[in-house]
Symmetry: C2
Subunit: 517 residues, 2 copies
């Protein structure tokens, strides 16, 4: 079933004799499939086809694109356990977790289908002619072919048919996915599903391609002049490398790189003293969820020094010691987790609360340390993400120091506050300060878990992402792949339906500065 | 009246003994004022004050910001002829033109005030909790202090209190303007007006600063870590330099550089044959308007070879010969215009139709050349902007070649089509192709003139701007200076008014995926 080819549009292609293989991180067992690395020629063909597809796909109606997205979801469901099994073998994630992720992936595709059917997302604006000023009409149009780099930690929801692909296809942009080296087989199965859906719904050839390879293939893709935007989820190193590469092109292009975060959590005193044990248990679950391999993993927990924080730390430490040792996504991530943790555990300023436990193969045990705010504030090193089931608890001497910690924070995907309403109000300055550092501010919960909806912002100031103005989750993520075009005194017959006077698509528009249908 | 100081918030400051002076381009006469270049210390103070102001200004209500913007407009009007005279002396632009530009500047400020009072621009979204999913609410928040670089060709509307400043202040971002070296006196007058308005309406100290200096001061400002975005209107060279600089910071920031365009015009056959002379006269006016110093100047006119195009060219050439020789904005622009024109006129492939006329001092005469599409298509040189009253007419052998010219075009602010409805429809592919190259598509008019309204897109693909997703004119330009933040399960008391359940500001919001008030 797994053939290891690239897909240049619907054509399987395997020009290169060099290939990658996949292995099961839980057992180090080699998995089936020799995944041929895309050659420069194959990359050029795929981008050429994407460009040609764009000329047609940009004019495909919302209804038709919606049918395509729905069909992709249906085809993914059709893959049944074949997909779940391969994804589990390639990622070490459980069947249950992957079934949930599959639902999310399909729901995301259907969410964009609904958005397209409703149609108002194009932000249509009309100013009729007046006082000698011309008639001007404005709406959003797709940018062109988009390159997508999936994430190892979400082989379905942030990968081949994940949020980036779904939003780019919804926007009207053809997509070329560079398959993730950790799950090329999962990629192939999903790529086939997308191509089948494209065929069944009559989408133009080249609307989707899939290429295998390592960083080199990715670089060539980003540098290709036909690529007009990049979606990426992964590490800071890879994300910033792609970002710099894209800015240095003759024509710079936008790169939406979601690069992770340590997701600071502020535990306020009253609430903590009331629920120290309960919160510790809740957070133990959040820290170890998916072996800590979520971009919203709580890697930094800040509280006021005192007995409540001690209780919390002790209970959290105990729970982490008891936690099942989780399989990491791949050898690179497992090695890196141990290395970074070891570097931190060697430092003087911290106290280790949960040592690393026994770790075989690619497994990573949960661990935890604590540091005083004074030491934390000395430099930025403590804010480096340790991707895995690790957290650092920072103890503050008072409200001012907690505020100092907040001011010292780098850009984050999320910041969380745990506190009773009165103390949250008292800490208004802290909340306001943290708002500047994050894309999402969470109250009395854990940062792991991202609701897919129109009000979600999954993004944040650098270094959490390369563009804080956009989200990679939720309906607003479509905005990453479009730009406005204005038409001045355009004859009715040439106007897109969204901008015609009688509003044939029945969408919300801003007409002469009034919202109206 | 003109004192030549920087303004660090409301404090005049002149630490540096080095200064710039201004001169009248029409007479080369030196104008009053020694404009002290900002020192590193002054830049640091201004950004520090801006950062402190941001902590308060971000919480100022829409109503209050609106009062501030309206007051700026009032203060500018209060400057009466003092402002018009100084701006005219510094730019060589006529009083009439500058009075019009002042109206536009004040109207822009009032337009943003209206936008803030209406309030729906924040794109508020609410997804209530359901099925175990949390309550999530989303709206746009300001990025932080913004650096603004004004344009020489619009000393009022694209400068100190121009569109960039108005939209950034409306967004909730403090602004630091680097005054344009061509009109530092105009800048000082307007800066004082802004500071007076800030004082009268109780805005926080540091919400606006103005610094004098050359490129070096600009670089230091862009590199300052407290600056979170840059608005720029000017040349490709300066715009891309600022863009690269901003991307190389430890924390990259968005740069909205509007860098100009040659604004291609396609003359379709039927319409041209009916109105060749009339169109030539219309276009002579557009080419020479403001001595050709508009970013939407028609620098490229494309038609089908034949007698109608000959008539058009001859008439246009005659009108350009007759045109008054205009004063250019400054010596640099006048010199550059002549140099670039000379380089083109030396080339073999073109035929000169209007030679340069007598040009004294900083005056530039209108000129024009023609080239065959075959020669035009040989390379990109013909697409370099010649900033001034110059245009190049490209003659095509047929529809296919015209399409080839369109495909060959770089990114533009505008593309214009002149044609009857039937032939516009027949050229559907051409129109579609050009749409990909421009921010605004104009029908049966001239590209000069930009209506300030909510449906305007003044932007376009690189190299016209550094970010095609945004406009620098119209209400949508506020989007450049904001980012979304989501609140998850936030207690009502901590929510901004825009996101409270009872919608106290009565704004349009997306509530559970339905637009509603």
């Amino acid at each position: 079933m797994i053939e290891g080819t690239n897909f240049i549009g619907s054509s399987a292609s395997a020009e290169n004799s060099e290939y990658l293989t996949a292995s099961n991180p839980a057992t180090d067992e080699k998995l089936s499939g020799e995944f041929h690395k895309a050659t420069q020629e194959e990359i050029d063909k795929a981008t050429q086809k994407a460009q040609e597809a764009f000329l047609r796909y940009r004019n495909v109606s919302g209804e038709e694109k919606a049918a395509f997205l729905d069909q992709i979801a249906d085809e993914i469901v059709e893959l049944e356990d074949t997909l779940i099994e391969r994804a589990s073998n390639e990622s070490g994630l459980s069947h249950g977790r992957l079934e949930g992720e599959r639902s999310r992936t399909c729901n995301q595709l259907r969410m964009f289908a609904d958005l397209l059917r409703e149609g108002s997302w194009v932000d249509a604006r009309i100013n009729h002619a007046e006082d000698g000023s011309p008639d001007v009409r404005y709406m959003l149009f797709p940018l062109g072919p988009v390159a997508v780099f999936g994430a190892s930690n979400f082989p379905l929801a942030f990968s081949t048919a994940g949020g980036d692909t779904a939003s780019a296809l919804a926007a009207g942009c053809p997509v070329i996915v560079k398959s993730h080296e950790s799950h090329p087989g999962t990629n192939e199965l999903v790529a086939r599903a997308i191509l089948k859906a494209a065929d069944k719904t009559g989408m133009p050839e080249g609307v989707f391609s899939s290429l295998n390879g390592a960083a080199e293939v990715g670089s060539k893709l980003v540098k290709n002049s036909k690529i007009k935007a990049v979606g990426f989820t992964g590490s800071y190193g890879a994300g910033t490398a792609i970002y710099r590469m894209a800015q240095q092109r003759d024509e710079p292009i936008p790169v939406y790189a979601e690069m992770g975060s340590i997701n600071p959590v502020f535990l306020l005193e009253e609430k903590l003293s009331e629920q120290a044990e309960e919160l510790a248990e809740q957070y133990a679950g959040s820290v170890t969820l998916g072996a800590g391999q979520f971009c919203t993993n709580p890697g930094l927990i800040v509280g006021m020094e005192g007995s409540a924080l001690e209780t919390f730390k002790n209970r959290l430490s105990d729970k982490l010691k008891e936690a099942e040792v989780g399989c990491m996504l791949n050898t690179g991530i497992a090695t890196n987790y141990r290395k970074k943790r070891a570097e931190i555990f060697e430092k003087d300023d911290i106290e280790i609360l949960t040592e690393s436990g026994p770790e075989e193969g690619n497994y990573g045990s949960a661990s935890m340390a604590t540091i005083t705010a004074s030491d934390f504030l000395k430099n930025d090193n403590w804010q480096e993400e340790v991707f895995g089931p690790y957290t650092l608890v920072v103890s503050c001497e008072g409200k001012d120091q907690m505020l100092e910690v907040a001011e010292h924070l780098q850009g984050q995907l999320t910041v969380t506050f745990v506190g009773n309403e009165n103390e949250l109000t008292e800490h208004g300055e802290l909340v306001a300060q943290c708002r500047e550092k994050a894309g999402r501010v969470i109250f009395n919960s854990v940062p792991t878990g991202v609701r897919v909806c129109s009000a979600m912002q999954h993004g944040g100031p650098f270094p959490a992402t390369t563009d804080s103005k956009f989200t990679s989750v939720g309906t607003a993520s479509i905005r990453r792949f479009v730009r406005p075009i204005a038409f001045q005194d355009c004859p009715e017959v040439l106007l897109p339906n969204e901008l015609k006077d009688d509003n044939p698509l029945d969408i919300y528009r801003l007409v002469d500065d009034n919202f109206t249908k």
